[in-house]
Symmetry: C2
Subunit: 357 residues, 2 copies
């Protein structure tokens, strides 16, 4: 019954006949220690299976190496990939990731943040639950710990001095680019399909769609913005709304890939051939997009790269907290061209003609 006495610096020092300080210096790679001493100490640490106690070091140094990562929905591959990217960079730089998930509950989010704060993270990366406010976050994390918010803006009920960095997607510019692409290949009757207008990301994407049409001198009519639940099933069910427009749409920019894939199914059932006589563009580039029939053109946000970027941004802020102006980084999403928009659809007047090439 040997109680598992934890090996400490003292044990190593005693075994080597040196002081604790010397062993600590070896650990920290100080050049002050004689090479022989260093080797002897290192050998002894290996021999005894010494494990560094970072909590003790943190306490003494008053700086931790932990970063809190709080995610609204880990089951969503987009956020899971984001988390993987964050952890990749943090791990490579010697930080440990404290994970928390809120499941879109602001109450849970508050609890999780409070619990993680007790571990003295040097910073926090937060993909917030819907409708989270600046105030409720500040209340639990204080003003001192650097915060990077991802993907959703915090609701700002009153002007506060609270400062944090933001990393988000260029929803508006992305959908504008997608719409412009459809215009460039000849479409003039383009709908925005799917999503609910009370979601901020949907509003931003719709705005991008309208930007593109207006810049081309095309009038934006309300009935060309078609609402659906952002799911495959509802998107499939309402496909006929696109063909019922006057004139019928020849292309649709969709709220996201789920909607776009559902729409393609619905169009097929109605006897249309997406990619041939109708162009569809999605948003997200989920794995299924590439293997759809036809493969779906979409906007890719590379969530893993966003995670890496978020970690970099936060660590910059951690190492330079004096640079106080708040940063807001909006990342362009990239159009991935696949067959759902090619072979290029002919201009509306020639819709019945065979595709070029």
């Amino acid at each position: 019954m040997n109680r598992p006495h934890r090996i400490t610096l003292n044990d190593i020092a005693r075994a080597c006949g040196v002081s604790r300080s010397t062993v600590s210096l070896v650990l920290r790679g100080s050049p002050l220690v004689h090479a022989n001493t260093r080797q002897q100490v290192e050998a002894e640490m290996r021999r005894q299976g010494y494990v560094y106690n970072r909590a003790a070091a943190t306490l003494r140094q008053r700086v931790s190496t932990a970063v809190a990562l709080v995610i609204n929905d880990l089951s969503n591959p987009f956020f899971a990939d984001f988390a993987a990217g964050v952890d990749e960079v943090l791990g490579a730089k010697g930080y440990v990731t404290l994970l928390g998930s809120s499941n879109e509950s602001r109450t849970k989010q508050r609890q999780v943040l409070g619990s993680l704060m007790e571990h003295n993270p040097v910073g926090i990366i937060l993909s917030p639950a819907e409708t989270s406010s600046v105030d409720e976050i500040e209340l639990v994390i204080g003003k001192e710990t650097p915060l990077l918010v991802f993907n959703r803006q915090l609701v700002e009920t009153q002007p506060s001095g609270f400062s944090y960095d933001f990393l988000g997607l260029g929803n508006r510019a992305g959908v504008r680019a997608a719409t412009e692409y459809l215009l460039s290949i000849g479409h003039r009757h383009i709908a925005f399909y799917g999503g609910h207008a009370d979601s901020s990301s949907c509003r931003e994407r719709r705005a991008g769609y309208q930007d593109a049409l207006r810049a081309s001198g095309i009038e934006v009519k309300a009935e060309w913005l078609i609402e659906t639940t952002p799911t495959r099933l509802d998107a499939r069910a309402q496909a006929d709304a696109l063909l019922a427009l006057e004139p019928a749409a020849t292309a649709a920019v969709c709220y996201n890939d789920a909607v776009a894939l559902g729409l393609m199914l619905g169009l097929t059932q109605l006897g249309r051939h997406p990619g041939n006589d109708f162009a569809v563009i999605g948003f997200d580039d989920i794995p299924e997009a590439a293997v759809g029939i036809p493969p779906l053109s979409t906007m890719n946000a590379d969530p893993r790269a966003r995670g890496r970027q978020a970690a970099e941004l936060l660590l910059q802020r951690v190492s330079d907290p004096l640079q106080m102006e708040r940063r807001s980084v909006i990342v362009d999403v990239q159009l991935i061209e696949r067959e759902s928009t090619s072979p290029l659809v002919a201009a509306p007047a020639e819709m019945a003609a065979s595709p070029p090439g």
Copy 2:
């Protein structure tokens, strides 16, 4: 330029005119403290924005509240869901999750485990990188910290005294049940479709398929085990192999859902109607399965529930390390019946007849 002096128990004690010990007792909910004192102390903590320093408490108490979670592939929704389940239970029980991901690299896995060990986790949940061995894991985590391995067995090169718990899926029993279901609805010409035989999960699933056939007195022929890359594309391309069998297969148990969905596409292109004149069963119950055309019958492993279960198992072991016999829990996967196997296919001899009902 006020350097952010961290609020400690001393500050609270001084402000209240009591000793540090008393404040600590309040913090820990001791009944020894007078109610008035307690209220005064609690109010002062709120007023000053006191944040508990768990690292200091951990150091003193010599027990941490951290659990390390190391995942082989966070980008895979199966493992992301698992992680979400783990975090859910750990958070609810007052533990913090230290996240690490190995990306299927044993080297990265070793580094990550080593780094997390410095934070004194009370236990480790590991979904190991492929071909990880018992020895390499033990070398880095030692014999003292409880370990729960998920999903894949560790390679055991030599008998070692190292003990850990295991949570895995009932691949063999699950596929046996799937195959028996197909037998029960009249099929006699059932193939096992997809996957590579050098993967342990594929071997286990094939074994379950063979178990069912043998128990029914049906001979298992090698050509009825069809290998494909476990992807939708390859599965689609090789669908004709099923119809080329003598006699042609009327049903297939697939290695996983990706394969099954690809197979359904391939069969459709060959003029068959999955769910009507051919039965298909997948494995995993990925989100797409439910919205396939037709919806895919499959085996569900509920990864999020597995995560919760893993956390429970580990915490049991943490609280009772004396119970030394190793536990190995194999969870049954559940058949989810959807249209890809119903309306029930008639027995082979009557294949051309209309479905019942």
